[in-house]
Amino acid sequence: MPPSEHVHWLFATGFLTLGLFLLAEAVVGRDVWKVRAWRTYLWPSTMFMLGLGMWPVMVFFTSSTLHMIAHGAWAEVMMFAGAAELGLATGKLQSGLWRLAIVLAFVVSGVGFLAHEQNPWFFQRSSFLHHLLGWTFLGAAIFPLGRAVRPRSTVFASGFALAFVAVAVMLYTDRDVAPVFGHLSPLAGPPRR
């Protein structure tokens, strides 16, 4: 099995790609972005594929039940949100309420991060990141919510995109056992590098 941080970096790349697609859409505006029809499917399909890619993490990293459940929940909400957005993009789904699927994904992801990290903020780097990621997802849920209500708002669109970029940066900085702000709990064992 690869170290968990490598898996986190892999997903960071996925989230960065996703965030950049959304940022590009926010910068040029929705109308310009939609000139090429395939662009509409870019971020939802990336989200769907990221959800699909999370399942191997769930079944191969079974060091604790909670860890398994959290990764399963992320896989499901990412697939669900990606599927809902794809359905809206193709016109298969009509109700705007489906836009709330991504809000649900943010909330579930945030709670998942906070619930599955049982160490305090400064225990080690990964603990700090889990707390930060959890609260980022919960706080940033306001952006997809605003985007569902006001689809043409640049603020909500940019915030939504930047949330993914921020999550990607946080995931890139993940290292399993490394000091954070010069502090490492003695219970965490020696730093690995």
Binding site: P56, T65, G72, V111, Q118
Partner: protein
């Protein structure tokens, strides 16, 4: 106000996890999970990624009959290591149950097995595991029902329904099959956790931090869980894409993949692990399951989708399904009879063994379902345009079929009666080299204290 307080309280609980909640993860252990040792170990050593504190009973080593052979556990000089001394262990299988205490009193736990000059049993058959419970029967039944909705639904759409159907019927089909796909994944996860809970023998709070790796990696059930979970997520994706793009052709790979994945149950159940099992018993088991889910799923689609939403298609679809159903039932019954003979070598087992009694009830229900099917075939079919109660009758047949799946779930979780001595010797001989090694999952003695 109360709601606000609840929300604030919840947020605060998430923001401030108690000041120290470190919990350790097991990094390695000697002996290893399910390791077969030629020389008895003098100690059991567990190494964690963080420091732990050992209590005297933190590592307990049991023989197959439940005798505790380990002494008091202690933390090693390296606080991340915990060990326990054991006397010279005689040949046999052993269960290690461990729990490590972090400085805040938070406990992580696990179980695994090893063997001294014998193969170790899977952790699901470790000493202390009680075997499948009623909850597991229900969960397995739900799993079968979900498989029927998914596989039977897709098969029905591809083989029985015409290429183009009314949009409402198409939507309903995707809803039913989609529910099946989601349920297969969810129920599979619940089934895995329940099995692990039984092996670990932990209350729910501690189960959350239980190490499931020995169950996932060291048992046929765990490997089937991994393959089936991953595979069915792809089936769900294919089903979704078929709906999204209106490409019916994508349902074919979904059907083939899901039928292939269903073999995971046959490759990890009685037909693969019990004495007397062979490729033929596994094939029969897979055919039995596949025919059953295709038949039941087809009935559900007929009653829940075609009848209420496409009156113009009722006659054609009913006749097509009536042509397919006898073939499915023939496969179902032939494979079932073969498996029954294999698992119940004596006729008297039918009424004297628990497994046989459940099978007897199942056979009675199968007979009722067959009679119901014959009634549809010979009585309803010629009068299809004149009867108004056909849907209710189809619902009734579906309900009986679902109850057969429940009994099948109980049978899968039950242990068939032992083979007669002479037959067992003949069957076991080629497998036992050296003679003391039992195939994984063959022995039930390790299960009961």
């Amino acid at each position: 106000m109360r709601r606000v307080a609840l929300v604030v309280g919840f947020a605060a609980a998430l923001a401030f996890p108690t000041t120290a909640w470190p919990h350790a993860s097991l990094e390695y252990q000697t002996p290893d999970f399910r390791q077969r040792l030629e020389v008895a170990p003098r100690q059991i050593l567990l190494r964690f990624d963080q420091g732990v504190k050992a209590l005297p009973d933190s590592i307990q080593v049991y023989t197959r009959d439940g005798t505790l052979v380990s002494r008091a556990a202690r933390t090693a000089q390296d606080a991340r290591k915990m060990l326990v001394a054991v006397p010279r262990l005689p040949r046999g299988a052993y269960t290690v149950r461990w729990h490590a205490l972090s400085s805040d009193g938070h406990v992580v736990s696990g179980v695994y097995t090893f063997g001294v000059r014998v193969a170790a049993p899977p952790p699901t058959e470790a000493y202390g595991a009680s075997g499948p419970t009623r909850s597991e029967h229900i969960v397995r039944w739900l799993y079968f029902a979900a498989l029927a909705l998914l596989i039977g639904g897709i098969g029905f759409r591809l083989v029985v329904l015409p290429r183009v159907v009314p949009p409402a019927l198409e939507r309903r089909f995707f809803k039913v099959a989609g529910i099946g796909a989601v349920a297969v994944i969810q129920v599979g996860i619940v089934a895995f956790i329940l099995r692990a809970e039984d092996a670990l023998q932990l209350p729910f709070g501690r189960l959350l931090y239980g190490n499931l790796a020995p169950v996932a990696e060291g048992t046929r059930f765990g490997k089937a869980f991994i393959a089936m979970t991953l595979g069915f997520t792809w089936v769900a994706a294919l089903l979704f894409l078929a709906w999204l793009t209106d490409r019916r052709v994508l349902l074919w790979p979904a059907l083939v993949l899901s039928l292939t994945l269903a073999s995971g149950l046959s490759l990890s159940g009685h037909s693969a692990a019990d004495r007397g099992s062979s490729w033929l018993s596994q094939l029969a088991d897979w055919l039995h399951l596949s025919a059953a889910v295709l038949w039941v799923g087809g009935l559900v689609q007929l009653a829940a989708c075609v009848w209420p939403l496409a009156p113009e298609l009722r006659r054609d679809v009913f006749l097509r399904f009536a042509r397919l159903a006898p073939a499915l039932i023939a496969v179902l019954v032939s494979a079932g009879v073969y498996l029954s003979i294999l698992r119940l070598p004596r006729l008297s087992d039918l009424w004297s063994a628990g497994y046989g009694q459940v099978l007897l009830v199942k056979l009675a229900l199968v007979s009722a379902a067959l009679a119901w099917g014959a009634f549809h075939h010979f009585i309803v079919r010629p009068r299809l345009d004149r009867t108004s109660w056909t849907r209710k009758s189809l619902v009734g047949e579906s309900a009986i079929a679902m109850s057969i799946l429940l009994l099948a779930a109980i049978l899968v979780d039950s242990k068939p009666p032992p083979q007669p001595q002479s037959q067992r010797a003949v069957i076991a001989k080629p497998k036992l080299a050296p003679p003391s090694v039992s195939p994984p999952g063959a022995s039930s003695s390790a299960r009961s204290p």
